[in-house]
């Protein structure tokens, strides 16, 4: 039976994270619950990859700040981390390349030692006062040194063998799925690579018909088995755009994003009317690139 193996999965979310919100963080929790509930997967890591400044999106503040805020936001998580690689590139990097980069990192880590456990141990060290596991009704195994992380009651696992190299899956919201149809935003072969080769987990809101998007695109439909649509029952529509608007109007954003991020924004007076004008008349990097090159 296929269930005698559980595939290790690493989730990768790309985006502006300008700033990161509780909704971005919820996406990871929902995706992990969903994948593990299938009985086929064990999610071992989540990676947040903020886009670089070269993306040129309106109101996009410096990557260094966005990376730091994401780092603060994930401090209390024992499985989601921030990777600064994409954000530190001078030029905008195509998402397919980012996915490829992270897969190569996983392969390299598998060759040497278990990267996942190293990350986890590092986080544990920083947060020894916190309980690691965020999952409920979870049987805590041998303590902080238990390298394989949390294991849940409903999934007896001692006799299971894990595949060695984790799968990397692209985690996104329904808006990204819809954006696949926007002209010149994505290269066609990149979509094929991300969805076909790696696979995606897409969080959709109740009432949002994401299957329709898949159905109406031949390319997506061909790879439908590699697309996991996860319904979010608790509507939690915290957009970063709304947050920035509230911030520059001096309104409270508390409880929409983690407290340490709220403090960081205040400390560095990050989102103002001025910062929102950044890149105001600049064309988004992918649009610049693809509308010139191909037609």
């Amino acid at each position: 039976m296929e269930n005698s193996y559980q595939t290790k999965v690493v989730l990768l979310a790309c985006g502006s994270f300008n700033p990161i919100t509780n909704m971005h963080l919820r996406m990871f929790e929902l995706a992990r619950d969903y994948l593990e509930d299938t009985g086929k997967y064990r999610v071992v890591k989540g990676i947040i990859s903020p886009v670089g400044d070269g993306y040129k999106k309106k109101g996009l503040i410096e990557a260094s700040h966005r990376i730091e805020m994401a780092r603060l936001a994930t401090e209390s998580s024992d499985w989601v981390i921030v990777d600064p690689w994409e954000g530190q590139q001078a030029e905008w990097v195509e998402t397919a390349k980012v996915v490829r980069h992270h897969y190569e990192e996983l392969l390299a880590a598998e060759g040497s030692n278990d990267e996942v456990d190293t990350v986890k141990a590092g986080k544990k060290r920083r947060h020894e006062d916190r309980e690691g596991c965020t999952h409920f009704h979870c049987v805590r195994t041998a303590g902080p040194a238990a390298g394989t992380g949390h294991r849940c009651r409903q999934r007896g696992d001692s006799d299971r063998k894990w595949r060695d190299v984790p799968q990397l899956k692209f985690l996104c919201g329904a808006d990204v799925l819809e954006s696949f149809g926007v002209p010149n935003l994505w290269k066609s072969e990149d979509i094929t690579e991300i969805v076909g080769h790696y696979g995606m987990v897409c969080i959709t809101r109740a009432g949002n018909d994401a299957w329709k998007v898949v159905h109406q695109s031949d390319k997506l439909w061909r790879h439908r088995k590699n697309i996991h649509l996860v319904k979010e029952w608790v509507s939690n529509d915290i957009s970063a755009t709304h947050l920035r608007r509230a911030l520059r109007r001096g309104q409270s954003v508390r409880y929409l994003l983690p407290d340490p991020v709220v403090h960081y924004i205040q400390e560095h007076s990050l989102y103002s009317a001025e910062s929102e004008e950044k890149n105001a008349d600049v064309i988004l990097a992918p649009l610049q690139k693809y509308s010139k090159g191909c037609s």
Partner: protein
């Protein structure tokens, strides 16, 4: 903020458990009341209902109060008051408001909650509620007329709308409410954010993650005390809500 009326916001409800959404209501209401230019919000009170309320799946008040305290531990203006939760019987909203207002007047002589400097003028107390609360006024016979007059007329409401509910319509459709409409402040919540405690409990008993829907210390507390399970959800199953048994009034200002 000189010359503004000092204002305390009171929220009554189950808080079973408290979520980020409950705390957002306070933030939204404070921003809104400051924007009117008339008020200075000097405090917020979370008042969990007592166990005799009899709602299905209601965890013991002791835990609900403890969780609310953990959640608000870092707030410099909202605090938890356990007076209502300790009453032997269910307390009508008017009674709870009277109690807190007398406390506020007493405190006004001394210092303000959490060390704020006392502003000039007599402080006011307003009830913070969700839009669904207003809709209860439309149901004939549910509210005693003198209670409406006191809650809305004497104290006042700050009502945060979520989702598709139309609070202004509810005010319009109720004679009692429209009579006091100058004392009803409607706050529009632009972020569609429906973290209901019901959904949180559902996720908890199904073993799903609720991280980022409520503060980490509350999640730790729930796990430690094994609070929301299939079994606990059956508590009070089939029981008549205490207020309905008593007078047929809808009690909750924050329906979840």
């Amino acid at each position: 903020m000189a010359g503004r009326i000092p204002l305390v916001l009171l929220a009554c409800g189950s808080f079973n458990p408290i979520t980020h959404q409950h705390m957002r209501l306070f933030e939204l209401a404070r921003d809104h009341m400051h924007q009117t230019g008339q008020f200075q919000v000097v405090g917020g009170i979370v008042s969990p209902v007592s166990d005799v309320y009899g709602k299905q799946g209601l965890a013991p008040a002791l835990h609900r109060v403890a969780m609310a305290r953990l959640a608000l531990r870092n707030s410099d203006w909202v605090s938890v008051d356990d007076w209502e939760s300790k009453q032997p019987d269910w307390t009508e909203t008017v009674i709870t408001m009277r109690h807190h207002y007398s406390q506020i007047l007493k405190q006004d002589q001394k210092t303000w909650p959490k060390g704020a400097t006392p502003p000039a003028g007599t402080p006011q107390l307003k009830l913070l509620c969700g839009a669904d609360f207003l809709h209860a006024f439309q149901v004939p016979g549910l509210w005693k007329a003198d209670h409406v007059t006191e809650v809305v007329g004497r104290f006042g409401l700050v009502c945060v709308s979520r989702g598709s509910l139309q609070p202004d319509r509810a005010v319009h459709q109720s004679d009692a409410l429209s009579r006091h409409s100058s004392n009803i402040f409607l706050v529009r919540e632009w972020v569609h954010n429906e973290i209901s405690a019901t959904e949180v409990r559902r996720a908890l008993r199904r073993g799903l993650s609720v991280k980022y829907l409520l503060p980490d210390p509350v999640i730790d507390y729930i796990r430690e005390h094994d609070l929301y399970t299939w079994e606990s959800e059956r508590k009070n199953e089939g029981a008549v809500l205490r207020p309905l048994a008593q007078q047929g009034a809808p009690p909750e200002t924050l329906a979840d």
